[in-house]
């Protein structure tokens, strides 16, 4: 019938149109960055001390932050995933809070907590530790805004593991610690790695909390996002170069993640979507 086929065509056009608009919209800024730089300029900018220092600060602080997130976040996520206790919902909300907090607010909060005149300021001072304006402050800010991303993923990953397998391990005589490291962790690995990637990417891009709490000083606290902002009006080429390198890095990260997750052909580590729940029945 003519009317039905017209409607179907319209629907089809709207469907395809929406997809095209989405893809172009998401891709255009990234393509534009590379359209403005040439590979030669990129390489040249890597010799720029501002660019080099920014990447060194970013990588150092992000890596340390990730280790901290891993060490402190994993047991937290495991507890929240495996046990129900009064206040469980509150605990989950607290853990997810930095996620929805505007980064500038996180920065203010960090100052209010760890700043010189902050809540813990005098105690830290007493121990000889001053946080603001140090590279450690950057690490703290990055860890603060990035940890909820890892913890949420980890909770989902742990929650999706088959409890029977853990129980079986226990009945076979393995201690809880051994069960955790040899059974539960490998089962949850895919989700944990995805969470780590997310939090790493978030941490690398952190701006508001860092500039508020740690300030911005080349070679000390000026991360790549801070350097991009500072150089924006001074040296647009450096800005483009830093942006381009970050884009490439993100692409490599995602590709490595995809490869790493699809490689181990274990049933319970296969995941359909990168950041969805790790698939397991």
């Amino acid at each position: 019938m003519p009317k039905r086929s017209v409607r179907r065509t319209l629907l089809g056009v709207a469907y395809v149109g929406a997809v095209v608009v989405t893809m172009v919209f998401l891709l255009l800024p990234i393509v534009a960055i590379f359209a403005h730089t040439s590979p030669a300029e990129l390489v040249e900018q890597l010799g720029n001390p501002v660019v080099r220092d920014a990447f060194l600060v970013s990588l150092e602080t992000s890596l340390i932050a990730q280790v901290l997130i891993l060490v402190f976040g994993t047991p937290t996520a495991f507890l929240l995933a495996s046990r129900r206790f009064p206040g469980h919902a509150l605990a989950i909300t607290l853990v997810e809070l930095p996620l929805v907090l505007p980064p500038a607010v996180a920065g203010i909060g960090l100052l209010a907590a760890f700043g010189r005149v902050g809540l813990l300021g005098s105690s830290l001072d007493f121990m000889g530790i001053t946080l603001p304006f140090t590279q450690s402050a950057v690490t703290v800010a990055v860890a603060y805004v990035a940890s909820p991303l890892y913890i949420r993923q980890a909770i989902a990953a742990f929650g999706a593991t088959n409890p029977d397998l853990a129980a079986a391990s226990r009945t076979l005589g393995a201690s809880p610690i051994r069960t955790f490291f040899r059974v539960i962790l490998p089962l949850a690995r895919a989700g944990l790695i995805a969470g780590l990637a997310l939090s790493f990417a978030r941490g690398l891009g952190e701006f508001g909390a860092t500039i508020m709490f740690a300030g911005s000083l080349q070679g000390v606290t000026q991360t790549v996002p801070l350097a991009i902002y500072a150089q924006f009006d001074q040296d647009f080429d450096a800005t483009l170069a830093m942006s381009a390198v970050l884009v490439l890095f993100s692409v490599v990260l995602l590709a490595a993640l995809h490869a790493g997750l699809t490689w181990p052909r274990s049933e319970s580590t296969r995941s359909q979507s990168l950041f969805g729940l790790s698939g397991s029945t």
């Binding site: 629907l11 005149v117 603001p132 304006f133 009006d233 001074q234």
Partner: protein, 258 residues
């Protein structure tokens, strides 16, 4: 003919897309806006709205604002904390010839309690002092470097700098919060938080010449209104409000002959 839900859905989606596309494609200055947009230096945050409360204001580091204008930001007027930035825009044909509309003084601020006992510019050079200044390209940052050079304290003080902020109010905030031992801001900024900071003046030989320039952006959608705003700032009333806030007269009074 039965009105099927799917055709209604398709029609509304198509309509929404059309509206979005048309809305995005319309040129920004199709119609003169009732309110102009003024891009102004952060140090003018409190005083400009007092001179004229109608415009939409965007306050920030003058260098960031200038860069945004270069990239097509919809400003009608640009009020900078120096004359270099608007002159640069004028040279690129992006705004009218800048006019000096006020002057200012650079001062040192320390937290109220002044834990580092900053009493003079020389104290900034004391090892271990945490100094916060504005970044390169930010007018107050450039003025600071100039002042340090005149006082021959550049190397010593710069080695004490712990952060280079993106505008003068951020420098002020870090000091007022007690996070830094000292910072360099305009005297007018220090006035806005007078109870929370201690102000230390600079020696005369170190005081840089601080001149604020204002210009009308070429791409403005409402030039008459933009020019009227500039006229308001330059008027007796406008200049009076600037003096009241602590700014200096636009023309340095010539010293009376003895």
């Amino acid at each position: 003919m039965p009105f099927h839900r799917s055709s209604l859905l398709v029609a509304s989606v198509a309509l929404a897309i059309c509206v979005a596309v048309v809305g995005l494609a319309l040129p920004a200055e199709a119609t003169p806006q009732a309110r102009i947009t003024v891009y102004a230096a952060a140090s003018l945050t409190d005083v400009l709205p007092k001179i004229d409360g109608t415009p939409r204001y965007s306050f920030g580091g003058s260098n960031t604002l200038a860069a945004q204008i270069e990239h097509g930001a919809p400003a009608d007027v640009f009020a900078s904390a120096n004359t270099t930035l608007p002159s640069r825009l004028h040279a690129k044909g992006l705004c009218s010839k800048p006019v000096v509309f006020t002057r200012n003084t650079l001062v040192i601020v320390a937290p109220r309690a002044n834990p580092a006992r900053i009493r003079s510019m020389r104290d900034l050079a004391r090892p271990g002092t945490k100094v916060v200044i504005a970044g390169p390209g930010v007018p107050v940052g450039d003025y600071t470097l100039e002042a340090l050079k005149h006082a021959k304290l550049s190397q010593a003080v710069l080695s004490n700098v712990v952060s280079r902020e993106t505008d003068v109010r951020e420098v002020l905030a870090k000091v007022a919060l007690g996070e830094a031992d000292a910072g360099l801001v305009y005297s007018t900024d220090a006035k806005t938080v007078s109870g929370r900071v201690t102000v230390i003046g600079l020696p005369a030989r170190a005081q840089p010449t601080v001149r604020y320039g204002i210009c009308v952006v070429e791409a403005s959608g409402d030039e008459p209104e933009a020019r009227a705003f500039v006229a308001r700032v330059l008027s007796k009333a406008g200049q009076g409000k600037l003096m009241a806030a602590g700014f200096l007269p636009r023309v340095k009074p010539t010293p009376a002959k003895k």
